[in-house]
C-alpha cells in the first residue's frame, strides 16, 4: 500500500464532499503562473507526485507567493531535480490562525475510525485528538468536537469568528464515508485551516491499498 499524490488525494477527498483550498495542476512554470492568475494571489506552489511525501520537511512547498515572478521562480526551483512524473500543484492561500487535523485510519479491532485534532502540523506535539468509528452521524461528529480539550481555541479568536461546528461536523461525517471504499487505507487532511470559521483542507494525503492506485 502507499500514498498517492496530493492532486489525486484532493480529487478523492473532494469526491467525498470535503472542501479543499481552490487548486490547479501545472506541468511547468508558465502554466503555474497561469493557474495562479486564475486562482488569485497569494498562492502556494507545491511539488506533486505519488512519491512526494513530507513536503514541508523536504522544502517542497512554497507559501505566500504574491506575484507571477515569485510563482515562476518557485515553480522552476521545485521542478529542478524533481523525480520523474512529478508536477506542480498551485493552490490559493487560505488565511486563518487556527489549524486542525482531520483523518481516517483503519484500526485492527474497531475498523475505520475518524480523527479530529488540534494543531494541524503541530498535532502530534499538541496531542489533543478525538476519535469516532466510521460511519458516524452529525450528532457523533458534534460530540467529537466537544471532546477536544482546548475548547477556548474553538471560540471567537483574534478577530476570527468561532469555529463553524456544523460545517466541521459535516466534514467529519464526509471523511467517514471515505471508508466505504475498501481501497482507502488512511486519509490525512493536515492542516485543515479554520478560515473565517469554516474548515478548509489545504493539504490532503490518501493512502490506498496495493493494486488500488
Amino acid at each position: 500500500m502507499g500514498t498517492v499524490s496530493e492532486a489525486r488525494s484532493r480529487q478523492l477527498v473532494e469526491a467525498a464532499g470535503i472542501s479543499v483550498s481552490p487548486w490547479a495542476s501545472a506541468d511547468d512554470p508558465d502554466r503555474a503562473v497561469e493557474a495562479a492568475q486564475g486562482l488569485g494571489f497569494p498562492v502556494a506552489v507545491k511539488l506533486n507526485g505519488d512519491t512526494v511525501t513530507h513536503k514541508t520537511e523536504g522544502g517542497l512547498v512554497r507559501l505566500g507567493l504574491a506575484s507571477p515572478d515569485q510563482v515562476a521562480e518557485a515553480a522552476a526551483e521545485l521542478l529542478t531535480g524533481a523525480s520523474e512524473g512529478a508536477n506542480l500543484l498551485v493552490t490559493q492561500m487560505v488565511a486563518g490562525h487556527r489549524e486542525l487535523i482531520v483523518g481516517l485510519v483503519r484500526d485492527e479491532g474497531f475498523g475505520p475510525c475518524v480523527m479530529l485534532g488540534l494543531g494541524g502540523v503541530l498535532a502530534e506535539a499538541v496531542a489533543d485528538v478525538a476519535f469516532r468509528l466510521a460511519p458516524l452521524g452529525v450528532v457523533d461528529a458534534l460530540d467529537m468536537i466537544d471532546d477536544l480539550g482546548a475548547q477556548a481555541l474553538l471560540g471567537p479568536l483574534r478577530g476570527e469568528p468561532a469555529l463553524d461546528r456544523k460545517a466541521t461536523a459535516d466534514l467529519l461525517v464526509a471523511i467517514g464515508t471515505m471508508a466505504d471504499d475498501p481501497a482507502v487505507v488512511a486519509v490525512d487532511l493536515n492542516p485543515v485551516v479554520v478560515a473565517d470559521g469554516r474548515p478548509v483542507a489545504v493539504d490532503a494525503l490518501v493512502e490506498l491499498s496495493d493494486g488500488a492506485q
Binding site: G2, T3, T53, I101, G103, L104, V105, D107, G109, F110, G111, C113, M115, G117, A123, E124, A127, V129, A130, F131, R132, L133, L136, V139, D140, D143, M144, D146, D147, Q151, A186, V187, D188, N190, L205, E207
Partner: protein, 486 residues
C-alpha cells in the same frame, strides 16, 4: 436476539461437580456458598467419594440427578471429565453450564482445543456455556451464590460482568460496604461461548437490572462489540472500566492520523459514541453504577450545591465548575427570595448555597425541598450533614450521657439527621431529580445516623463531594447522550 441466560441466572435447581469433603476445594466452596446464601431450589452435589458433605448426600454421577430437577451445572471438575458430565447433565435437563474449572485456553494449545470442544458440545446440546476459568455466577433475586469466592452481595439493581473474576468480588464488596446492591454478577472467565456483549444484552431486558457495570481488558471483536452495545445503551446505562489502557501505545504509520491513533484513544472515542459510561477506576465505576441504580436521570446539567456551613460548598462548587459536563447554575432570584424567608441574612445568597450555620430545626428540609422543586434546577448536591449525628456520637459515648439534658439532645440530633436524609430522598422522588448527599462520614463513621438513613433510603452516601461530582458527571453525560438520540 439476545441469548437466553435465564437458566444461568434463575435456574430451577443446581448441580455442582467436583464436590469433596475438603473445605479448601472449589467444588466444596461453591456447594457451601450455594447452600449458605439463601438459594431455595434443589441443590445436588456430585463427587468421587460417596457419603455426605455439609450433611448433604454426595451423588456419584450427574446421572443420579432426577430428570428435570436442575437447570444449572457448575463445573468444578478437571478438563478431562467435563465433556462426559456436560452430555449427561443435558440429558437430565440441565440448560446452562458455569464452568469454573480452569485448564482451558488460558493453559495452552491443548486447553484451547478442549475449550473449542466444550463450546461445540454446548452448541450441539443447545445449552448456554459460561466460562470456563471463571469464579462463578451470582443472582440475588433467587439467592444464588454459585461462586468459588466471596462475597454474596446485598440485593439491588446493578448487574456486573467482568473479564476478571477478582473485580467481580471488588464490586460486590463495594455493594456490601455501601448498601447499594447487585442483581446479577458473573465472571466471564475465558468467555469461550458467552462474551460481555451477550451478558449486557440479557441484562438490558432483565427486569431486575437497572444498570450494568463491567470490567474489560480485551475485545476480540471490537467492532462487533461496538455495534451491539450501542443498542444496549439506548435502553440501559452501561458503566465500563478498561484495564490495559497504557499497553500498545503509538504505532508506526505513514499518516499523521495513524501515528496519533493509540488503542486507548480509539477505545475512548468508541465508548463515547456507543453511549458507554467510561469510569477511570474500579471505585469510581462502582459509584457511577450505584448512582445510575439509585438516582433518576437528570433533565439537564444545572447543578445547585447546598451546604450548611464551611468550605464544603466552595470546593464542591469548584469541582462542578471544573467539570465540562456540569453547570453551576446561577441561583434563581425567586429561589433566593424563598431561602431569604427561611434563614438569617448571613447565608451566601449564591450557588453554592451556604446557610452559614443559620438553620433551625426545619430549615434544611425546607431549603432542600424548595431548591429541588425549582424548575431551573436539575440536580442538587447536599453537603454538611452528619455534624449533629457526629456530635451525638461523641456525647453518647462520653461520661455525662444521658444526664445534664444530654439524653434528649442526642436523641434530637440523631432524629434530625434522619429527617435530613429522608428530606433528600423525598424531594428527589417527588420531583424526579437527582439529589446526592456527600459526607466523609460515609466511610469515617458508617454508623452515623445520617449515613445510615441515606443507606436505608436505598441511596449512596458519597464519601466526598468530589466523588459525587464525578458520578454526577457520568449521569448527566449519559442523560444527554440519550436525549440526543431519541
Amino acid at each position: 436476539m439476545a441469548l437466553d441466560l435465564r437458566p444461568l441466572f434463575e435456574p430451577k435447581g443446581v448441580v455442582i461437580t467436583g464436590v469433596s469433603a475438603h473445605p479448601g476445594k472449589f467444588g466444596f466452596v461453591a456447594f457451601h456458598n450455594i447452600l449458605a446464601c439463601g438459594y431455595t431450589g434443589p441443590v445436588f452435589a456430585v463427587g468421587r467419594e460417596e457419603g455426605t458433605v455439609l450433611d448433604r448426600p454426595v451423588l456419584a454421577s450427574v446421572d443420579a440427578v432426577p430428570d428435570g430437577a436442575a437447570e444449572l451445572l457448575v463445573l468444578c471438575t478437571p478438563v478431562a471429565a467435563n465433556t462426559e458430565i456436560v452430555r449427561s447433565a443435558a440429558a437430565r435437563g440441565v440448560r446452562a453450564v458455569f464452568c469454573a474449572a480452569g485448564g482451558y485456553s488460558e493453559a495452552g494449545p491443548d486447553g484451547a482445543e478442549a475449550e473449542n470442544q466444550l463450546v461445540a458440545l454446548a452448541d450441539e446440546l443447545g445449552i448456554v456455556l459460561a466460562g470456563p476459568n471463571g469464579q462463578g455466577v451470582v443472582s440475588t433475586p433467587v439467592g444464588l451464590c454459585a461462586q468459588i469466592v466471596a462475597p454474596f452481595p446485598t440485593a439491588g439493581r446493578i448487574a456486573v460482568v467482568s473479564q476478571s473474576g477478582n473485580f467481580v468480588s471488588s464490586f460486590l464488596n463495594y455493594a456490601n460496604q455501601t448498601g447499594v446492591g447487585i442483581s446479577r454478577a458473573v465472571s466471564a472467565g475465558n468467555a469461550a461461548a458467552i462474551g460481555v456483549a451477550d451478558y449486557l444484552e440479557w441484562f438490558a431486558d432483565d427486569p431486575e437490572t437497572e444498570v450494568a457495570l463491567c470490567y474489560l481488558e480485551g475485545l476480540a471483536d471490537g467492532r462487533g462489540f461496538f455495534e451491539r452495545v450501542r443498542e444496549v445503551t439506548r435502553r440501559m446505562p452501561v458503566v465500563v472500566v478498561k484495564g490495559g489502557t497504557t499497553v500498545g501505545g503509538q504505532r508506526a504509520a505513514a499518516s499523521h492520523t495513524g501515528s496519533l491513533a493509540n488503542d486507548d484513544q480509539i477505545f475512548d472515542g468508541m465508548a463515547r459514541q456507543a453511549g458507554l459510561i467510561r469510569a477511570a477506576n474500579i471505585e469510581s465505576a462502582f459509584e457511577a453504577a450505584a448512582t445510575f441504580a439509585t438516582q433518576p436521570l437528570p433533565a439537564g446539567n444545572r447543578i445547585v450545591v447546598l451546604s450548611t456551613a464551611g468550605g464544603w460548598g466552595v470546593v464542591t462548587a469548584d469541582a462542578v465548575t471544573a467539570h465540562r459536563d456540569l453547570d453551576l447554575t446561577p441561583l434563581p432570584t425567586d429561589l433566593m427570595a424563598t431561602i431569604d424567608e427561611l434563614v438569617p441574612p448571613r447565608w451566601s445568597r449564591n450557588n453554592p448555597v451556604d446557610l452559614a450555620g443559620g438553620e433551625t430545626r426545619d430549615t434544611i428540609p425546607a431549603v432542600l425541598e424548595a431548591t429541588v422543586a425549582h424548575p431551573a434546577v436539575d440536580v442538587v448536591i447536599q453537603l454538611g450533614l452528619g455534624i449533629q449525628g457526629n456530635t451525638a456520637a461523641l456525647t453518647r459515648g462520653g461520661p455525662f450521657h444521658p444526664d445534664h439534658g444530654l439524653g434528649r439532645i442526642v436523641d434530637f440530633h440523631e432524629h434530625q439527621e434522619r429527617r435530613y436524609a429522608e428530606a433528600a430522598d423525598s424531594a428527589s422522588r417527588s420531583h424526579d431529580k437527582p439529589v446526592l448527599v456527600a459526607s466523609e462520614l460515609a466511610v469515617a463513621r458508617p454508623d452515623n445516623p445520617l449515613v445510615q438513613a441515606v443507606r436505608e433510603s436505598g441511596r449512596l452516601c458519597y464519601p466526598s463531594a468530589d466523588r459525587a461530582v464525578v458520578a454526577l458527571g457520568h449521569l448527566v453525560r449519559y442523560a444527554d447522550w440519550r436525549r440526543r438520540r431519541p
